[in-house]
Amino acid sequence: MVANIKDKAVIVGVGNTKFSKDSGVSELSLAVQAIKTALDDAGLQPSDVDGMATFTMDSNDEIEVARALGCGGLNFWGRSHYGGGAATGTLHQATMAIATGMAEVVVCFRALNGRSGHRFSSGVSGEITTADAIHWGWYMPYGLLTPASWVAMFTQRWMHNTGVTKDALFEVAHSTREYAVNNPNAFFHGRSFDRAEYDAARMIADPLALFDCCQESDGASAIILTTPERARDLRQPGVTVCGVAQASAPDQEQMTSFYRDEFAAIPEMEIAAKNVYQMSGLTPDDIDAAVIYDAFSPIVLWQLEAWNFCGFGESGDFVLDGALRADGRLPTNTHGGQLSEAYIHGVNGLVEATRLVRGQSLNQPSKNVDHALVTSGVGIPTGGAILGKLD
């Protein structure tokens, strides 16, 4: 059972840095730039901030960020573990802190030089004997070293089990790219691709090819949360957290849960979905648009099933009906996603989901967006949230 913290915290500011392949600045610099942009968006000062939430993977100490920004003291800091599984984990931490009164203005941020600094594609390795290093040791000697390779292993079996084909993977990658074409801050601004180019792109880890994979990116994203009372006095329309949850499932490993009875599945996301729907009192029919974590194209499909937009094995047909497009059932990743905007570990997705509810997306659907879904990475302990309009 999960405590109900519906509508206890409200997103009042969002900010992205420029996204690039070589920021030329420190990750600390990226972090404070994104946070300052989000504070300006909200109409708040650094001195208003009394809490912070980020990833265990983030290199920026909260106190360094606070000092650089010129915050005062902090009452709360909390970190979420498991890579991109922490995207909405930061939101979860911030919402809990505000709901319990432990903090009043909490910043969620993620800043990384993911291309010019440490690259995810360089794989895992290490001489340190932690439980985490020992875990990777079951895969490293065989060459299963990169996020693409782990996800490929799930994808191959999931496609085998469901009969979903590359047509659906293409539709996810392509519909996402079409949104990025309109986004000046996206890597692929103004650059579309067609099926022939998709098919001709080099293979990364079979069946994942180049356009099925996100891009290693430099950049930062931040959002600011506060109480509903305070949110009503601020500059932007408030975006309330209707429901938020973190979840891991039995026999969970980090990206390599290969030991379950049926491993081509993401039961952790099903748990998160159930709890978010329960907390918010909403159903899939209430969700108007979504930002679904897309480090790789197939993981969007699995999440559509986990959040009950369609049944098991039906996500291929769901997307091939145009559901993810601007005029579709569920306009998704309208910023261009991590596939085509930038890979900021899902926190750029929190920014975009907020904008969708505000009505400020660059690709704002013509229909009313009362509720937007936003999710964290999969294959790992994960989470998600539904955002809505503050009364």
Partner: protein
């Protein structure tokens, strides 16, 4: 170079931005069938619109045309370039780069735009300027600057045919440190697992040719990868059984990119269900990548795969 020296150098270099390399000049020869034929033969381009006069006469154009990509051919200087080239702002700028140690040169990319077709009898004129001098960049080749030459091509009526941007990197070549050169001689090996309390015994057995499966002494449940406690009954007492290495593919992936030093490609990783009931990740070897499928039967062998690693490897059964 100190920041002051760099500023002084950049001031000189950036003065060339927009400089005219050559004013509008006609090609020595008009567009002609012989050069078109030579070019299309070398390129292997059999389009009749370029060389077949009879076919072209009955086409919408009514005549042959030159391939658009020949744009840059018509105004090439030819043999006289070997006997020395007159200086122009581009050669002066390159000389300035060289004086400051930016002796490396790398043509990085060419972009052409086409506006009109030309046919035999037309005369192509070219004019060229220096454009897009970059800020100082750190590249894998060394620190340097990119610049472009922008060539604009027009016909005898001064109608624009096309443009070409040619991008060049001028850089300070980096010497390979001697130590790095020596390191390249060492044969890389696969990345081995670290060994700790909870897994060292498994890898030690593997070194001795055995693949073991941890077993709870209390409830007999098998578990892999090893853990210190039984998740079924919470017993910390365990022993192990030796696997038969009879297995079946549950999923697989062929790793294409990036290629990690120490690993042999093509490389296939698979999740394999062992006859004993536990799953293991390993490599499928001894067959083509295209031969692997979900449900494929395998037989494993423990093999020394390189200087540092002994691993189970699975072959088609």
């Amino acid at each position: 170079m100190t920041p002051e020296e760099q500023n002084a150098f950049e001031e000189k270099i950036y003065a060339y931005s927009g400089a005219q390399v050559c004013a509008r000049t006609p090609a020595a020869d008009a567009v002609n069938p012989a050069m078109i034929r030579h070019w299309t033969e070398v390129m292997g381009d059999n389009n009749p619109a370029y060389t077949n006069e009879e076919w072209s006469a009955s086409s919408a154009r009514g005549k042959t045309i030159a391939p658009a990509a020949m744009l840059y051919v018509w105004n090439q200087e030819g043999y006289t370039v070997t006997t020395g080239r007159a200086s122009d702002p581009q050669t002066d700028m390159v000389e300035l780069f060289n004086e400051y140690g930016f002796t490396g040169v790398l043509g990085t990319n060419v972009t052409q735009e086409y506006f009109r077709e030309v046919s035999p009898g037309d005369t192509v004129h070219v004019e060229m300027v220096i454009d897009n001098l970059s800020e100082r960049k750190s590249t894998a080749r060394g620190p340097g600057y990119f610049f472009e030459t922008l060539a604009t091509f027009t016909d005898q009526n001064n109608e624009k045919i096309g443009t070409q941007r040619f991008r060049v990197l001028k850089f300070i070549p980096q010497e390979q440190p001697a130590a790095a050169a020596e390191e390249k001689l060492a044969v890389p090996s696969r990345i081995a697992s670290p060994r700790g309390h909870d897994n060292g015994w498994w890898w030690d057995a593997c070194d001795n040719g055995q693949v073991l499966i941890q077993r709870c002494k209390n409830c007999q449940t098998l578990r892999h990868p090893p853990r210190p406690m039984c998740g079924e009954c919470q017993s910390m007492e365990w022993d192990s059984i030796e696997s038969s290495l009879d297995g079946e593919v549950l999923s697989y992936t062929e790793l294409h990119h990036p290629k990690i030093p120490g690993y042999q490609y093509p490389l296939i990783c698979a999740v394999i269900k062992l006859r004993e009931g536990t799953n293991i990740v390993s490599n499928v070897v001894g067959c083509e990548p295209s031969d692997v499928y979900i449900g494929m039967r395998l037989k494993g062998k423990v093999e020394q795969v390189d200087e540092k690693n002994t691993l189970p490897q699975f072959y088609p059964a």
